[in-house]
């Protein structure tokens, strides 16, 4: 019997799910309807900064030939889902069409959360989440060559956005309310080195200073005020200060959501309604949302497996975070904050051959098994350490540092 799967959203997690289904559903047991709010097939959202910096939109596309070409998959681009009726098992699209499902996967992603400061919605203010956002930023930047720009949010994405703006010819400032950059991934020492390295690359960071307001200034310019009375002039302001899971469809249908947003699902990525799953940034697996692509892919894998009759659950050992800026190598992986009970941490701050290197390694109590780490500077991206996560170290840790 052929059943119908409706997938709401066509971002990276949905793409992974569809890719797996197309490849593995050899019994042709599923017909799939994909409702994609965005007018284009899934693309590599993580590479948005390279689009900002000038590469073609096409370079971001994920290989979707098998999905789009499959007679069993109906991808509706530019079609948002507006209502979920669990009793009738239908999802209604914004053109009024109702799609009946046997199984439903919510992959609605997340939206940029913008701090509600005065002026956050002035012309010249942008969020940084979709290709459309990036297109708008690129267009605006073309009108103000050499101008200043402010990126609100000093996390991974904010820094990458700032670097994209720099490569567009703007002079970016990064504003972060936490005391240091990349607070989710780094400790203060590591972040200090990142700040220094990105500073050398032309990005000025203002940490520990919340944004107070964005104000219109001279013709076409904005003025950004920080809590410490710093004033920054900018041709454009980009918000990259976190995301909020898009769980409205689920919430309106009476499904539980997590305290900080996100469709609440169990370890199998299933909501309380056994026919409905949630994956990717819109999901809160056992209450926790991740906002990273790897766990999103793991959720997609788990759901693909279940749809094909394999009892799979979501497993995820911890993020590997890499920051890709010229001259700044950062890798954060596993338990970067040494929160595992009994964990031992050792950090190294070195100057060698004119380069600054910071490395923090988190080990188990016996100082044998790698639980996590932070590498900044040097050839951090080429250290073998991230790949050894969860394993016993094969040689003295000092020999594995960048």
């Amino acid at each position: 019997m052929i059943r119908t799967l409706v997938v709401v959203g066509f971002g990276m997690a949905a793409h992974r799910l569809l890719d797996r289904l197309c490849a593995e559903d050899s019994g042709h047991s599923w017909r799939v309807v994909v409702l994609s709010e965005e007018p284009r097939p899934a693309y590599n959202r993580i590479a948005l900064s390279s689009y900002l910096a000038g590469c073609e939109a096409g370079a971001l596309s994920l290989p979707s030939g098998a999905i789009l070409g499959s007679p069993r998959v109906d991808v509706q681009l530019g079609r948002a889902a507006v209502r979920l009726d669990r009793a009738r098992r239908t999802v209604t699209a914004d053109d009024g069409t109702a799609y009946r499902y046997d199984a439903l996967v919510l992959a609605t992603g997340a939206r940029a959360s913008v701090p509600p400061v005065p002026g956050h919605d002035l012309p010249g203010c942008f969020t940084y989440r979709s290709l459309a956002d990036a297109e708008a930023i690129r267009a605006a930047a073309a009108f103000s060559p050499g101008g200043g720009a402010v990126v609100v949010g000093g996390g991974l994405l904010g820094l990458e956005a700032a670097d994209g703006l720099r490569r567009l010819g703007l002079g970016p400032h990064v504003v972060e309310r936490a005391p240091h950059l990349m607070p989710a991934q780094l400790d203060a020492d590591g972040a200090r080195l990142v700040e220094r390295l990105v500073g050398a690359a032309g990005l000025r960071a203002y940490c520990g200073r919340p944004l107070l307001a964005v104000e219109p200034y001279r013709r076409g310019l904005l003025r950004v005020r920080l809590a410490d009375a710093t004033v920054l002039d900018a041709a454009l302001v980009v918000f990259s200060s976190g995301v909020r899971p898009r769980d409205e469809l689920a919430a309106a249908a009476g499904l539980a959501t997590a305290e900080r947003g996100g469709c609440l699902v169990d370890a199998a990525c299933r909501t309380e309604d056994p026919r409905i799953f949630a994956i990717g940034d819109c999901a809160a697996v056992e209450g926790r949302s991740y906002g990273l692509v790897t766990p999103g892919y793991r959720m997609a894998d788990a759901v693909a497996g279940q749809l094909l009759g394999r009892p799979e659950v979501f497993t995820y050992s911890g993020p590997v975070t890499r920051l890709k800026l010229p001259g700044v190598d950062v890798a954060g992986f596993g338990d970067t904050h040494a929160l595992t009970p009994g964990a031992l941490q050792i950090s190294y701050r070195k100057r060698q051959a004119g380069h600054h290197i910071y490395a923090k390694i988190v080990l188990d109590k016996a100082a044998e098994t790698l639980l996590g780490g932070i590498l900044v500077g040097g050839a951090a991206a080429r250290s073998p350490l991230p790949a050894l996560l969860g394993q016993k170290l094969p040689s003295p840790v000092e020999e594995l540092l960048p």
Partner: protein, 457 residues
């Protein structure tokens, strides 16, 4: 009669005289000491306070009969032209060489009720410097230790271990703030508290009255004995009056000479190279060097590397050199109960270190520091006292994940290569590696080069 006159019977003076007589059994030495009792080992004073040792057990070996000791006699003045020392017993002592080993005296904080109208300390209060101080303090009842430096912490622990209630009051928010950083000070405070000492950091004592002290937050703490451990100041009055160069201490050069080449100074009263060491190890080094010089030998004092170890079985805390120095490399190790900070120069030599709960590493680091040896490159193994393991296969195992977004392992990449995907681009197409965040592109390229090399070989 002339010869060598030594003023002071503390550790510096005692060590000097012992060495002088050993080097030259005929050296004419006279010692003038203000304390009424024979020389004793000040370092063990906290054990007397804790009742573990009797005062007599601190006594240092008496000098041989060739040394004339004037006990309980205070030097009043130096006549440099006449090369004479005047003492309060009305005598005059001629010298060829004079050695000032007058030590240091406790700093007393400004504190209501601490001093009697005559300038002496109130009953129930004392510094922790001399046996006379120790004798002044009641042997039981709650004690308050004022000052959380090395001596204050040692004193508080010693008293607590003798069964007394102890409150340790320190004005800085960190114990031993001149030696420690935040983390080690936290661990130390935790350890001291776990032994039952009440630690009040960031607090001052405002007033003392028999039986209690008043803290600056308004609380009153019962106090049968107030022990003042607020640092010391070099005793330099004699040198200053005699017109010798004095800054914080009596200024000496590498031959331990004051500005008058016939007068020397050693120990806690001496300032060498801008610093008053204030440590017994420095006093001993200086005494040894000077003893050699005064008996026709050679020598040059070049400073004593600072090193502090807290006395007692616990906590195991050692401070070496200058932990706050900026070096080419800083290594920090910590878990819930251990901590190390090592600051190294570009050659891997220790500039400073703090080691808490790591006794073996502390001893080893102290040795490396004292001899200027570079630490072994396996710092973690050095700190934990383990042997560096090396179980590494020649290359990473097949199940190592290369692309974390798509969970692609080296094994999968190698298999794809063997199935005909023999370029980086083909590996990407076959395995989907790099199509997530793209962060592993360099590794894939590198790995494909490696595989190509294997094929050629």
């Amino acid at each position: 009669m002339s010869g060598i006159v030594v003023i002071g019977t503390g550790p510096a003076g005692h060590r000097l005289v012992t060495r002088l007589r050993r080097h030259d059994g005929t050296a004419a030495v006279r010692v003038i000491g203000a304390e009424r009792r024979p020389a004793y080992n000040r370092v063990l004073l906290t054990d007397v306070l804790a009742g573990r040792l009797r005062p007599g057990q601190l006594e240092l070996p008496a000098h041989d009969g060739g040394v004339r000791v004037h006990q309980g006699v205070t030097a009043l003045g130096i006549d440099r032209r006449g090369r004479l020392v005047h003492t309060d017993d009305g005598r005059v002592h001629g010298y060829d060489r004079l050695v000032l080993a007058t030590g240091a005296r406790p700093v007393l904080p400004v504190l209501r009720g601490l001093l009697r109208p005559d300038g002496g300390m109130a009953e129930g209060a004392a510094a922790v410097r001399t046996l006379a101080d120790a004798a002044r303090l009641p042997g039981e009842g709650p004690a308050v230790v004022l000052g959380g430096g090395v001596l204050g912490v040692e004193t508080a622990l010693a008293l607590r271990r003798s069964g007394r209630d102890v409150v340790l009051v320190h004005r800085n928010r960190r114990l031993m703030n001149r030696q420690l950083d935040d983390r080690s000070a936290d661990l130390l405070a935790g350890q001291v508290r776990s032994e039952g000492v009440v630690v009040e950091c960031g607090r001052r004592v405002r007033a003392f009255a028999p039986g209690r002290v008043l803290l600056d937050d308004g609380r009153t703490v019962p106090c049968a004995a107030l022990l003042v451990c607020a640092g010391v100041r070099p005793v330099t009055g004699l040198a200053r009056t005699a017109g010798l160069a004095v800054r914080r201490g009596v200024v000496v050069d590498g031959l331990l000479r004051t500005s008058d080449p016939r007068i020397h100074a050693i120990g806690d009263c001496a300032e060498y190279d801008g610093t008053v060491a204030g440590r017994v190890t420095a006093a001993w080094d200086q005494a040894d060097t000077l003893a050699a010089l005064l008996t026709g030998g050679t020598g040059h004092y070049r400073g004593t590397p600072p090193a502090t170890r807290l006395r007692g079985p616990r906590p195991e805390l050692a401070v070496i050199g200058r932990p706050d120095a900026s070096g080419a490399e800083t290594v920090l190790l910590s878990d819930s109960e251990r901590y190390a900070r090592l600051v190294l120069d570009a050659g891997g030599r220790l500039l400073g270190g703090i080691l808490f709960g790591l006794p073996e590493a502390a001893a080893a680091a102290g040795q490396h520091y004292a001899h200027g040896l570079p630490l072994p490159p396996a710092r973690l193994a050095f700190l934990l006292g383990t042997r560096p393991v090396r179980t590494a296969p020649a290359r990473p195992a097949d199940d190592l994940v290369v692309c974390h977004c798509n969970i692609v392992t080296r094994g999968q990449l190698a298999a794809a290569w063997r199935s005909g995907s023999t370029s980086a681009a083909q590996l990407v197409a076959a395995t989907r590696a790099t199509t997530g965040c793209g962060g592993c592109l360099a590794e894939i390229t590198e790995f494909s080069r490696e595989l190509a090399g294997d094929g050629a070989a």
